[in-house]
């Protein structure tokens, strides 16, 4: 489950920025924001390409861990609750691998250049 705001929320903000700011204000700050917007477009493209597959894998892992069905948000709520109350710990088979896989799936969309992510990709044999 990717973090928020979602690509669907970010794209209209990019359109608004292009229409309302880029056309009227050519300051250095706008140029900075333009680079941020370009990165955001890249993120949205990665989310569209990768998130559906990641979500399906995450759901399968959660189903195995929790022995439960439901949508991703509900399953994640149950996961977080069971970690908080100690039902699930790092000694629980599959929990550590699940948490890494889920966070790595977020980074692959959000910031694949992040140095700790790249190190983890190597360590996980990817």
């Amino acid at each position: 489950m990717q973090d928020e705001p979602t690509a669907a929320e970010i794209l209209p903000a990019i359109a608004r920025f292009l229409r309302e700011t880029v056309t009227t204000d050519h300051s250095a700050h706008t140029m900075f924001q333009a680079r941020v917007a370009a990165n955001a477009v890249d993120l949205a493209a990665r989310e569209a390409a990768l998130a559906p597959g990641f979500d399906a894998e995450e759901k399968a892992r959660l189903k195995a861990l929790l022995g439960d069905e439901g949508d991703l948000l509900a399953l994640n709520r149950k996961l977080a609750d069971q970690i908080a109350d100690g039902t699930l710990t790092l000694d629980t088979p599959g929990l550590k691998a699940h948490l890494w896989a889920t966070s790595m799936a977020k980074l692959a969309v959000d910031q694949p250049a992040y140095a700790s992510y790249r190190r983890a990709v190597k360590r996980r044999g990817g």
Binding site: D3, N76, K96, H98, T102, G126
Partner: protein, 341 residues
């Protein structure tokens, strides 16, 4: 963002600073190059210079134009007091030049000397100009923190908020609950913090509270000054050492845990040599995990700031999507990968 004075509030500030200058530097005191610097939402920071009669004196004004109080901010009068105490303890900080009074007509706050140097992390960590500084920064930071923590508690302003570890964990629990989106890694970190909460130190110290890139003025020789005391509080001194080591301030230099420029051993050794208490690495580690989670929750909170329209900018949305960086960093602390591929 910088903006030139000329509109109403800026023109009013310029006029008020001119009349203050005339009182501070009789026969001189004209205001030059007044401009707003980027800063927090509750406070404004301006740069300007006064003509002293013996040349221009570069200054920084920190002020609150209106009374907007954040629960976590120490308050500008307190900040000015802390700068004076830190300077008296020997720490490198900007000298407080004038504390504003109601008669000055500039709001509440203070004027301090403007230090020369750089605060932008990527320049400090990559530019050749700072290569000598990088070699001594961990030591300089350790010394500065030892001096800051040495301020006698009974000299500290009464407005300082006590925030030992137990209170901070409770704050983060609340922040996570307020965001309302379940997150397994955050839940794991909160559980770990609750299980590893150290005993409170026998006496809480002055803690800067935001000792990291952006608030450290750095020149070619090393640390030139410690800025932005807005989050100062009474706490565990290990918190300041740890916050500087939080992975979010390494800017790609992940083999250098101290701000991307140094090793923990050098920071701790300098801290102890300058009179700081014996460093307990396990305690520092607790505060590193806490600080990392705190930064993650701050990023996650940006989704609501974006969505609510408080700041609907793409930049704000993209800060929200940096929370996942913190998840990897937390897992590196709490569930490290063991096999090297």
């Amino acid at each position: 963002m910088t903006s030139a004075p000329g509109d109403g509030p800026a023109a009013a500030l310029s006029a008020a600073l001119s009349s203050l200058g005339a009182r501070l530097f009789p026969g001189h005191g004209s205001v030059h190059d007044l401009r707003r610097l980027s800063g927090g939402a509750s406070q404004e920071t301006f740069a300007c210079s006064y003509e002293t009669g013996a040349g221009l004196r570069p200054l920084i004004l920190r002020r609150k134009p209106h009374e907007r109080v954040s629960a976590l901010a120490a308050g500008l009068e307190t900040e000015a007091e802390l700068l004076k105490l830190a300077a008296a303890a020997g720490a490198r900080v900007p000298a407080v030049f004038h504390v504003l009074t109601a008669d000055d007509g500039c709001g509440t706050g203070f004027i301090m000397d403007r230090l020369e140097g750089e605060t932008i992390p990527r320049k400090i960590l990559r530019d050749e100009r700072f290569s000598t500084a990088r070699a001594v920064l961990a030591r300089d930071c350790g010394e500065a923190l030892a001096l800051i923590h040495s301020v006698a508690p009974d000299h500290l302003p009464s407005a300082l908020r006590p925030a030992p570890g137990s209170a901070r964990v409770a704050e983060l629990q609340s922040a996570y609950a307020a965001i309302g989106r379940p997150n397994g890694v955050y839940a794991l970190a909160l559980r770990w913090l609750a299980d590893h909460l150290p005993d409170d130190p026998p006496q809480l110290s002055l803690v800067h509270g935001d000792f990291r890139h952006g608030n450290l003025m750095i020149d070619e020789n090393g640390l030139a000054g410690v800025l932005d005391w807005e989050l100062a509080h009474l706490g565990d001194p290990m918190e300041d050492l740890a916050w500087l080591c939080v992975p979010s301030w390494r800017f790609g230099e992940i083999e250098n845990p101290v701000g991307g420029f140094g090793q923990r051993e050098a920071l701790f050794a300098a801290y102890e040599a300058a009179g700081g208490q014996t460093v307990d690495p396990a305690r520092v580690r607790f505060w590193e995990v806490l600080g990392t989670l705190q930064w993650g929750l701050m990023c996650s909170g940006m989704a609501e700031v974006f969505r609510s329209g408080t700041d609907p900018s793409v930049e704000r949305a993209m800060i929200g999507r940096r929370a996942s960086e913190v998840e990897i960093d937390l897992l590196d602390y709490l569930a490290p990968l063991t096999s090297e591929a």
